[in-house]
């Protein structure tokens, strides 16, 4: 089946590599054209297996197109258009190139049919996305990028170890559902590898660290692709893995707790990614058809509303240069449309009726209740309350209203962002509302469409339940507003271990290792260097008196032979050659005669 088949990721990679050659006048059109072509290519994909390549006796599948990969491919390529539109005015080509290669890694991973292909594309994602952090060019950006890269490389190695052991056990690299009922060590290793990418605690601290530090449009890309590619991988291979349900519920609440403490709006949104991905991971852990539908639907909706939220806060950062609540406030007069768009994102993530989160989140929660995991259902609803508390209320309130603590230059710089950023946000806001209002659009794309069609989110009970939880959360917010006042602090998280671990390592390198090094150096001096010098002196004597004499004698001899030979020279080259060939011929004839005798 490895006929001519254009991989959507290939269009994007080639498009990225050709970008520097495009003339300035055509650049903006080109920046929009390539993602649109990728999206159209995904739309025209037919189901089946394509792009099978045999290398070293392994069959690598680049194009496994089925219902599950299609929905993720669809939303990833759609998101690529909107994120590129959002950052359209960025002049630096390399930023677009890094972002596009990152997206193509994600699309490649989604259509990969085997672990090797998956692994290669996942690594491409990690190594290209780090540039989206470094291009912020702050003093903190460089170490943050390195931390991000180190965590992802470690995660990649754990996944690789799992893959290899798995290959030993089953004899193929096929990326399919694993045996989750009797998991082997390989299954756990693969799961941990995916967990790093999905930011499941305690392997999550890289996420707020990196997404809070990336460029204003880099975070829009970052928030969509890494964690959702991991959710896809989990749906594909680990549906029904019990422990993921527990981890997912912990995630959902963990993100909410840290969001209370967070002072940086983009780090807060990072913690809410962890919280929302928790619903998806819990869905994978439940593993029923409805739960997997829920995980995919929520990933789809999440990419749009979280992208919108990062666009809104990114616009604030872009215009004012500030992302901390303690440095913002009262911006409604200057950035009203950004406020409205961010609010739509906030209402969508909070799962208000007629917004996208409502039709996706409830699927996971209902799947929990349907599987008689009441504790999971209630705790996920509690996390939903926390989601509205922060993203629906805290973020808009402390940026656009609240007590003004901002500096005058923040106020002076504030204003509506460029048209392309506004247009991207408007398109995202429209999609968030469209998905919430017209459910068949999303539900037809889910992995089990028949099951999805039997799910009706808009029942009277469901609507009043959601509204009561959310609106009374709002009451709680305003009652406890004083307690929620942002504080200029940072929150310690699991990154403490590797940040301080790194420091301990450097101390180790400075103090004990350096001492040992000096000691060994001294030891060498006494034990090695002094005897060595002695031997060298002796060798020098031998060299001078014995070897040199020998060599000189030999050279003298050769010179004498040469002098005599020169007198035998007869002058012309041809004669010399003829003489030499003649001598050789005589020798050969003599040799033949001698040997045949």
């Amino acid at each position: 089946m490895s006929n001519f088949w254009i991989h959507p990721a290939l269009i994007l990679i080639l498009g990225a590599l050709l970008l520097p050659l495009v003339p300035k006048q055509l650049k903006r059109a080109y920046l929009l054209l390539i993602p649109v072509l990728v999206f159209l290519r995904v739309l025209t994909l037919t189901k089946g297996t394509f792009g099978v390549v045999t290398i070293l006796g392994w069959h690598l599948t680049f194009g496994r197109v089925d219902q599950l990969s299609l929905i993720f491919g669809y939303i990833m390529s759609l998101m690529c258009i909107l994120s590129t539109l959002y950052g359209l005015h960025v002049k630096e080509d390399v930023q677009h190139i890094a972002a596009w290669i990152y997206v193509s890694g994600s699309i490649g991973a989604i259509f990969a049919g085997d672990y090797i292909t998956l692994f290669i594309f996942l690594e491409a994602m990690a190594f290209s996305s780090v540039f989206l952090i470094w291009f912020r060019r702050r003093r903190e950006s460089l170490p943050a990028g390195y931390r991000y890269l180190l965590v992802h490389t470690t995660g990649g190695l754990i996944l690789l170890a799992g893959m290899i052991i798995h290959h030993q056990q089953v004899g193929n690299w096929d990326f399919v559902q694993l045996n989750v009922h009797h998991p082997t060590a390989a299954v756990y290793l693969i799961m941990i590898g995916f967990m790093v990418n999905a930011a499941v605690p305690p392997l999550h601290a890289w996420l707020p660290d990196a997404y809070g530090e990336a460029t204003f449009n880099g975070s829009v890309f970052l928030c969509a692709f890494t964690t959702k590619t991991a959710v896809y991988s989990l749906c594909r291979s680990l549906a029904g893995m019990q422990i993921l349900l527990i981890l997912g519920v912990i995630m959902a609440l963990y993100g909410v707790v840290y969001a209370v403490l967070e002072n940086d709006c983009r780090r807060l949104l990072g913690y809410h990614i962890i919280s929302q991905v928790g619903y998806m991971v819990a869905g994978v852990g439940l593993g029923t058809q409805m739960a997997i539908n829920g995980a995919c639907a929520h990933a789809f909706a999440h990419i749009l509303y979280k992208g919108l939220l990062f666009m809104g806060t990114g616009a604030v950062l872009y215009k004012t240069g500030e992302s901390k609540f303690t440095g913002l406030g009262g911006l409604w007069k200057k950035m009203p449309w950004t406020f409205v768009f961010t609010l739509v994102g906030g209402l969508s993530i909070s799962a208000f009726p007629f917004f996208s989160g409502f039709v996706s989140k409830s699927m996971v929660v209902d799947a929990g209740f349907a599987s008689h995991k009441l504790w999971a259902g209630y705790l996920l609803l509690l996390a939903a309350s926390g989601t509205f508390l922060h993203t629906g209320l805290k973020v808009p309130y402390f940026i656009w209203f609240g007590k003004n603590q901002r500096k005058p230059e923040v106020w002076n710089r504030a204003g509506e962002p460029p048209w392309n950023m506004n247009l991207a946000m408007a398109a995202m806001a429209f999609l968030c509302i469209f998905i919430g209002c017209y459910t068949p659009y999303l539900y037809h794309m889910l992995p089990y469409p028949q099951v999805a069609q039997q799910f009706h989110p808009y029942t009277a009970y469901h609507i009043t339940q959601t509204l009561l939880i959310l609106l009374f959360t709002g009451v709680g917010f305003f009652v406890l507003l004083k307690k929620l006042k942002p504080e200029p602090t940072i929150s310690l998280d699991f990154d403490w271990f590797y940040r301080m671990g790194g420091r301990a390592f450097r101390w180790l390198a400075r103090k004990p290792v350096q001492l040992t090094d000096t000691f060994v150096g001294e030891l060498y001096r006494y034990v090695g260097l002094i005897p060595l010098m002695f031997t060298a002196r002796f060798a020098g004597l031998v060299d001078n008196d014995v070897i040199d004499a020998l060599v000189d004698g030999l050279a003298g001899g050769i010179r004498n032979i040469g002098r005599r030979l020169r007198s035998a020279q007869r002058g012309q080259m041809q004669q010399n050659l003829a003489f030499a060939f003649g001598a050789a011929a005589v020798l050969i004839v003599a040799f033949i005669l001698y040997s045949t005798r």
Partner: protein
């Protein structure tokens, strides 16, 4: 800018806006409590079907989250911004 004027208008009449919201909330609780309007056969447990259960759930849940998180934060999770600086 019409949008700014709207927000300004709402802010200038904040008391009225709050009152209207509170009335709407009360109406919603009432609406939810009438079995003829909201069929609670989908409720997973009996407690859920009690009037105002989800309102209480939302309010108490939100308060708990804020108080527990802030307590954790002040117990050592929140640190100075230059904590990691050397």
């Amino acid at each position: 800018m019409k949008l700014v004027k709207l927000i300004e208008y709402l802010r200038n009449h904040l008391k009225a806006v709050v009152r209207i919201c509170l009335v709407l909330l009360a109406l919603l609780v009432l609406f939810d409590a009438i079995p003829a309007l909201v069929d609670k056969k989908d409720a997973s447990t009996h407690i859920e079907a009690l009037p105002g259960f989800w309102a209480l759930f939302g309010f108490v849940g939100c308060a708990l989250l804020i108080i527990v998180s802030k307590w954790l934060g002040h117990a050592g999770v929140m640190q100075r911004e230059d904590y990691y600086d050397e």
